[in-house]
Subunit: 467 residues, 3 copies
């Protein structure tokens, strides 16, 4: 018989009664606050078209590589999961795979979020298991068909105030325009400029992409024209409400090259004759140039480094990107990013949010950098680290050097729209738990803890992301 | 007056009463389960010959470099500890050294295990101290002479179901044959293929060892013959019940070299003219070849990287290996092991257990790798990390990304036969403690926690090690 | 209305009642023990001249780059903080800046210490805030003018037994002589030999400094004379009571060069024509030579590596060093320091205290090294890591491998004289908290925990620093 798992009202709070009581009190002050989501991957057309969700599998499995990767690791084939474009899978059959392997997710962040979603959105309080796979599938499917379950209705119900998406520089941002023009839409949906594929000569299809960029801009086809074209697209994003530009790089390395070298590297890059060392220098110079443009146009610069994408090449070739085999690598900021900070780190108004997926950076590099440079903020735990214990480790590693006010506020970074409330709720509970411990240990006063808890979900993200 | 230290029945459980109650309950379900020890260093002749143990010092000090290293650090000379082959020491005098320095072990894993052994096996409930050195020595010596205290009787008493040893590829495995042939022996003792010294051109005596390997196999003396000879020895191990091949490497780097380069490097290696860069490529290629052989013959591949052996050369020269100065180094997997995973990572039936002694790998590289590749399992905390706090840090770092089912189950890795129950018991208590916290924080349901606790000591090691 | 924050008598103890009770008991045994401060940066003339403190800002802000860096990060300008030598600031105005931004310090180590100081020394029990900035400023200013508030009176009140300062090799140590000659002075103030700027060819003003060193010594101006001059200054320090020599290096790398190479590098260094690779080799060789001299003259060798000083060059040029932008870098010991340990690691009487600001070193490298080499001790958490959670992480990472007796005892490392009791008190509370947990979890007996707590504040630092 499947186990009942109704959500514990005190979930994620420490067990020790007095600390739990404090956590409960601190959380109560922010539990219902509107959601500010300044970085994520929700598709804006979901909200613009407001089409109902397809089915439980499409909603909770297919597009969530946190989930499918662990099913693959557990022995499921890609086609069994509906991830082989040439062999569509039956949605219900995929759902049964998840139910069958559900115990393997115990303790993971994904399991935590999905339990929250099942309970809060679908009233499902039992642990997924083979015995209830069909019943839970049907329950969700019925709910999805209800009029209250459209993306826009959920946006309202989730109390989302701001939702930033992540967009290609050449995107026309029509979906964002649609939403901005709709007086009935209950929040802001902002684009984010994400130029990685236009800055990395080793990215698939780089030359063609640059060609389209330059054609669109009508600028000269040299490095100067390329920079101008990028600046032009940024301006387009700013006009559509963008507040940040996001940079996913393998290494957060910045180089300030002279104009001649930059021009030469660019010419080689579009000609496809740049070697790997040259490509590295070019990418590093473009990170530097992006900082310069952020100083100019005010877009907050966010950096997400340290992931080796598509680790298993054959899987990438067969099934495309975002298939769960993006694997972190050791990362360094202090020396790598220094040229950028030497030049722009003290610039008034420049905001640089540095994320890490290598936890060693928190106490060693990020908290000290954010504890000096007015421009630098320590990004919230990201990707594999957006999980209860990891979030507490992050606060423990960062706070003693940089406090709370040099951190970014929570970033859900998700493409799973339905998981947004679960993720923000978890973050609020964990910050409350962390603050409760500091209060219980006589390190922060309770009134100050209340102020910090409130600022973490409102004043801080608004300041950092200029909202 | 020495302090009484009778074993706390709730040892290693969190102090918070409700969590402790949960831990107690979860532990109770697995406390008496048989021991599966799929990787360790017990000498099989100990069990084959069943000779009684020599004396307390031989039993608990001399062969345990965890213990002798800290005595050396505390100022003891090697000869005082009986570690100088040319100057045998009085066993009782060595025991007195341990008693004198015992407070320096407080808080270490070794102290925890030894206290467990003294209490459970010898009924000694007082803290070792100069005042009781002779009394405790005598007490142990008397017990060792009892008929119930032979290795085989203890094997039975410890409820060991499977014990894997670690063996030289040219070992004839006679001791394993003896034990397998004995119908009265109450468990399985399996050899493990450990070929490091045959794969590393920089290992002392490499050329002579290869000569013996090739002579034994009767194969050609080129690289092809060398591979065939290794495969032949693996087959010999498989015939004798081996389930895994273990690889201790400085770096977990794999190279897929072409035949010509491999042949050339091998020729240079046996001729003793390979430089250090060439040796590195050769080792990397042999790790790749070992994976290929594991795909072929089904031996689970385990990798233990990241230790600079024999850090103080003069000590190594005077007293030999395993003297406590093997020091960990920073380690990298994501890029280093990638060629091996590109080729074999998705192979059905291939099992690759990746260990780490550099904790930064847990959340950054190992959990993400094991959270995608069906072949990869995160090895249990190993060596310096096989200790209470380190085990909890490991679970905290790994679980949120990979869950419990992508980990290897506990590995005692010990040459100290008497410490096996203490180590497995500690592991069970700590997993119970970790799970109890997840239950108390509303993250895992209690029934699921029970299932996981049970699987961690049975289903999981049996699956990972094909037992 | 500002919040009351009277010091919690149980601060820094775990909330769980039984563990808290144990921590309270362990702490009570050491709370009043005299302070041994074997490494720090207090100016000895402060005590020699015994001049009263200037004003609250000078006392608590201006010279504490832990505090000013976070004010800069919060948007304060250097001149607003009185850090621009050409534009002196009003002390009261600077204090108001701190009060205004005080909530941004919540959770940091600095906030913890300052609250302790305000409460214990000035009877200020309310949280700093704009509303009480002037009142608290006045309260402190009044107290500073009291006769009981001179540096010497505070030294006595703080129960400091030993205070080591950090001094330039060419310092005549007159202040130390004055204090040693004063029979009424209630403790020992010892100099520490800190030769970094004389060992690093890339340090500003290296050539001139070497010229002065050689001139002072009257030795030959070659490498041999340089070594003799350094040995001479060390002897001068030993005569004045020094017990240690401190080495701040970017990398803890040691090279044992032959005489000819050393001579050539030295000649190039003083001529200003050494390239960066040569400078690195020279520094590495000088670290090796410093170890040799420590073996000869008995000075304890301490190494503080891994900080990129003056990360933002323009700030350094405008406002000088120690302005809060010294940023840690990834550090390695096992391979880097090996040549030094190969030669001197087993030398009787040699003491080498290895510090880390990269936490990954604790369990991976430092505990294993100190767990074997009798000369090596793991330095206490330093700089950014001298904070409550970081200290507990340190004990957790180090103890299971090396116990408590291979660690250095607490080091306050501060230039903020008034913070010394707060820092030592925090350390004692945290060690009590850590030990209490081990007792509560049945891992260490309570009598042993009492012994360790006492040794950590007395026997251990006296042994390690030869006091």
């Amino acid at each position: 018989m499947p186990t009942t798992t109704s959500l514990d009202q005190d979930r994620l709070f420490p067990a020790e009664p007095r600390t739990r009581e404090l956590a409960r009190e601190l959380y109560a002050g922010v539990a219902e606050a509107p959601i500010i989501s300044p970085h994520g991957h929700v598709d804006p057309t979901l909200l613009a078209t407001d089409r109902p969700f397809a089915d439980p599998t499409d909603l909770l499995i297919t597009h969530d590589h946190y989930v499918t990767r662990l099913l693959v690791a557990s022995g499921c084939q890609f086609d069994e999961l509906g991830l082989d474009p040439s062999r569509p899978a039956d949605a219900r059959a995929v759902w049964r795979r998840l139910a069958e392997h559900w115990h393997r997710f115990a303790g993971t962040a994904s399991a935590y979020w999905i339990r929250h979603e099942l309970a809060e959105l679908f009233g499902i309080d039992e642990e997924l298991a083979p015995a209830n796979a069909d019943r839970t599938y049907d329950r969700i499917a019925v709910t999805l068909a209800e009029p209250a379950f459209t993306p826009r209705e959920l946006f309202r119900r989730f109390r989302i105030d701001v939702l930033a998406t992540t967009d290609d520089p050449l995107d026309d941002l029509a979906a964002h325009r649609t939403l901005a023009a709709d007086p009935g839409f209950p929040g802001r949906v902002l684009p984010t400029f994400r130029p990685d594929a236009y800055l990395d000569p080793e990215a698939d299809g780089f030359a063609g992409r640059i060609e389209r960029l330059l054609a669109e801009s009508g600028r000269s086809t040299d490095f100067v024209g390329y920079l101008a074209a990028l600046a032009g697209r940024r301006a387009h994003f700013v006009e559509h409400g963008a507040v940040s530009a996001d940079h996913g790089v393998l290494e957060p390395v910045a180089f300030d090259l002279d104009a001649a070298e930059a021009e030469r590297l660019f010419a080689d890059a579009v000609a496809g004759r740049l070697d790997s060392a040259g490509a590295r220098r070019f990418r590093g110079h473009m990170l530097f140039q992006m900082a310069r443009m952020s100083v100019d146009d005010g877009l907050v610069m966010t950096v997400h480094p340290g992931v080796r994408r598509n680790h298993h090449t054959e899987t990438f070739r067969a099934y495309g990107p975002d298939r769960g085999h993006d694997i972190p690598v050791r990362t360094e900021y202090t020396e790598s990013i220094r040229p950028l900070l030497e030049r722009f780190g003290m610039e008034p108004g420049f905001h640089l949010v540095l994320f890490a997926i290598d936890e060693t950076l928190y106490s060693r590099e990020l908290a000290p950098l954010a504890g000096f440079y007015p421009s630098v903020y320590v990004g919230a735990p990201w990707w594999f680290l957006d999980a209860p214990d990891a979030i507490l480790r992050y606060r423990s590693a960062v706070t003693e050097t940089a406090g709370f006010y040099r951190t970014s506020g929570f970033i859900d970074d998700t493409r799973a729209f339905l998981s947004i409330p679960a993720r923000h709720d978890a973050s609020r509970r964990l910050d409350a738990a962390f603050l409760a411990r500091l209060v219980a240990e006589g390190r922060v006063s309770l009134p100050t803890a209340h102020r910090i808890a409130a600022d973490l979900v409102d004043a801080i993200p608004r300041e950092v992301f200029k909202l």
